[in-house]
């Protein structure tokens, strides 16, 4: 592998990791507060579509980014309403969000944008750095990917809110006994999770592809879910996992485009399955121990014992 292959691999990681990394950060924030967010895939899809639509409608990629985050926030509010207010099963509620996103976005794509063949026309894109032969680096996406997990880590570790946030995912009864509201904390966590997943989704059309396609986000939300586990429920761990997963994807692209002998011997499906395979290993304890927050996925019943 030459220097230029390595450099372009690095660029492709920095370009392709941010959507997964931001959604995974959303997953970490939600699960640390005790709510499993299976709906990351659907929230990314909402974010991607409304991001593209917002950019097309306003002519500004920045407004599109805001619209994507807002759409993710709204889908987070839906999950919060189902899982916290109506106390529905968190997994079922998350799957409902995914299915809703699948249907609603496909419908809106045809009805509102009249997209032909499931693909929109070109959308305005966020500013990027041109790196000559190495391609373009979507600086906004990369910057957000590096800054937000660090900020979230600091928030969880060093602020009073972060302390309660972590406590409510471990033992909500202790938080209630300390006089704080479990539902409010968890609600905030799910909203933040939705906004981050929406933001990550919006980066797909606005920073990477320049258009919205009906197949988006093509399983990246589930990869984000895997990154949460592989990153051991920490913001920086999830970032690392997202970068690792993007790297294996990028490696596969680089290898197959380079036509090297090695690439043809490894089937493409192996790289597609790699994130999930590694996650299974992480859960089984082969790659260090992955311990979820004790109250992760456990509904809060104030009168329960």
């Amino acid at each position: 592998m030459t220097h230029s292959t390595l450099a372009s691999l690095l660029v492709s990681i920095l370009a392709y990791a941010p959507p997964v990394a931001l959604a995974a950060l959303g997953g970490v924030l939600s699960e640390r507060a005790g709510v499993i967010n299976i709906g990351l895939e659907g929230m990314m899809r909402f974010g991607a579509f409304f991001g593209a639509w917002g950019a097309l409608a306003t002519g500004s990629a920045w407004w599109g980014l805001g619209a994507g985050a807002a759409a993710g926030l709204a889908s987070g509010a839906l999950l919060a309403a189902l899982a916290l207010w109506a106390r529905a099963d968190q997994i079922v509620a998350g799957v409902a969000v995914n299915l809703l996103a699948l249907g609603v976005v496909t419908f809106l794509l045809e009805w509102a944008l009249g997209a032909d063949g499931g693909i929109t026309g070109p959308v305005p894109m966020l500013p990027a750095l041109a790196l000559g032969p190495l391609g373009r680096l979507p600086a906004v996406a990369t910057g957000a990917m590096l800054l937000l997990p660090a900020a979230a880590g600091l928030f969880l570790r060093a602020t009073p809110w972060g302390l309660r946030w972590r406590a409510v995912g471990e033992n909500p009864r202790a938080v209630a006994a300390a006089g704080a509201s479990v539902v409010r904390l968890r609600g905030a966590a799910v909203l933040a999770s939705g906004a981050l997943a929406g933001l990550g989704g919006a980066l797909l059309p606005l920073a990477l592809l320049g258009r919205f396609e009906d197949r988006m986000p093509a399983g990246q939300g589930f990869i984000a879910l895997a990154a949460v586990v592989f990153g051991k429920w920490t913001p920086l761990g999830a970032l690392g996992a997202a970068i690792f997963f993007a790297g294996s994807e990028g490696l596969q692209i680089e290898l197959s485009s380079g036509g090297a002998g090695l690439a043809s011997s490894i089937p493409r499906g192996f790289f597609l399955a790699l994130p999930y395979l590694l996650t299974l290993l992480a859960l089984a304890g082969f790659v260090g121990k992955a311990v979820p927050p004790a109250a992760d996925g456990v509904p809060w019943d104030p009168e329960g014992r």
């Binding site: 202790a174 006994a177 300390a178």
Partner: protein
Amino acid sequence: MEPVLQAVSLSRSFGPVAACDRISFSLQRGEVLALVGENGAGKTTLLSLLMGFYRPDGGEIRVDGETVRIRGPADAEALGLGMVHQHFTLVPPLTAAENVVLGREPRRGPFLDRRRAEREVAGVARASGLPVDPRARVDGLSVGGRQRVEILRVLWRGARVVAFDEPTAALSPGEAGGLLATIRGLARDGRAILFVSHKLREVATVADRIAILRAGRLVATLPAAGADLDRVAALMVVKERPAPPPAAPSPRLRRGAALPPSAPGERGRPDGRGTSRGAPEAGGGRGAGAASLPVPPGGEEEAASAPSPRSAPPALTLTSVSCLDARGAPALRALSLAVGRGEIVGVAGVDGNGQRELAEVATGLRRATGGRVELAGHDVTLLGPGALRARGVAHIPEDRERGGLCGALSVAENLALGRASSPPFCRGRWLPRLDRRAMDAVASDLIRRFGVRPEDPDARAAGLSGGNQQKVVLARELSGDPVVVVAVHPTRGLDLRATAAVHDRLREQAARGAGVLIVSFDLDELRAVAHRLVVLCGGRIAGEAAPAATDAELSRLIAGAA
């Protein structure tokens, strides 16, 4: 002096049950008031009313003479009322200091001021004589250490009244002594203490006054100094039926009965432990707690039915068995117990003293960490529930709706549970399938024999009354002629007739030669069916008594005051 806390005619009902019935008391600064009573006497409900977990139906609470309304834990905290919970409300991965300040964190700018939190927690720890490292993670602390963190949390929040709910239940004797000293120290500093406990000896050492609750009422308040603990114990006990039932046959006349030929274990070697009372007494530790009441001779109605081949080993023998509870704390401590063939042994004691774990170890649901379990002389210590079941251990679990039955399945299906993979329920070697007709035939037979209503094998188990559900459990567990029957609260929630039916079934099993171990909180029930009572306290056998023992004698053993 104005009492710091006063309850005036405080009441709270749950449905038709008055958990607290017009309870009045007052508490002075520097005073320790003990609340004692049996399970369900209303102690925990009373604390929950004071701490704002429940709202009272009637009566009022006064703090410093002023009537207050406590709508939640935050209100109680603001009034200076704090509680040390029996089941700690801590966050294990956080540090001691983080747990203490949770919800009222000191800040510096937007950030948690961790250094100040640690300094303040260390200060309170020093002032109250509770050694705690503020930086230690709670999941690395012992049970006693966690409790100290829980106490520090209450003190750091400025509590003037501290309630302790069964604080020594989870502690080792040494830790318990330290805690009692701490409580006296808190009182000396001017705080008022409410102390809930079952252990009268403990109460006598720590309290200034003892308030006795019975069935939701406060029946007496006595000064602790020179209190007659027998009288306190007698006051605690509910007398449901005025005349105690006649004593069951004495075990002295009932050395193990022969097992039917179908049961395993006949080849048991003679080992000199063939009598029902032959097991060693609980070993080691607090030997002073072990006391035996005399077993009077008498009772002959069933004795004739029990031939006694002295050579046969007991149905069930536990030899210095230890185990941990679900939270990993020691539950049984070198407990030894033998249940002879044809003998019914009743296990009395306050909830949480190892009864559940004893039943689980005996049925293979819980692994013993030490000691030996023998079934009819064969070592079964390492066997799981399926293997024990196959060897003739029947289990009537504590909660029939959770552990005994599957409510969504039919009666016939429930009767086949646990043995559905063998004939006659299952046929076909290569493609095993349930034989519905055989299941229905077995079910119809058992329904008739055990008097289950409705007489319908297809009825959903969840639709049956509690008594009939329990009959289904009994029918399944007892129809295989078990060697040992382990029954945990077998009549809980049942009416008189259903209760009598359950007792008859257990006596039948004993008469047939099975060893029966029955756990219950209801002393009258134990007296009615058991040949011999053992009292569990702190995972050991604290004493043994004949069914004819008086309430006061038993209460004394149960309360660990003997």
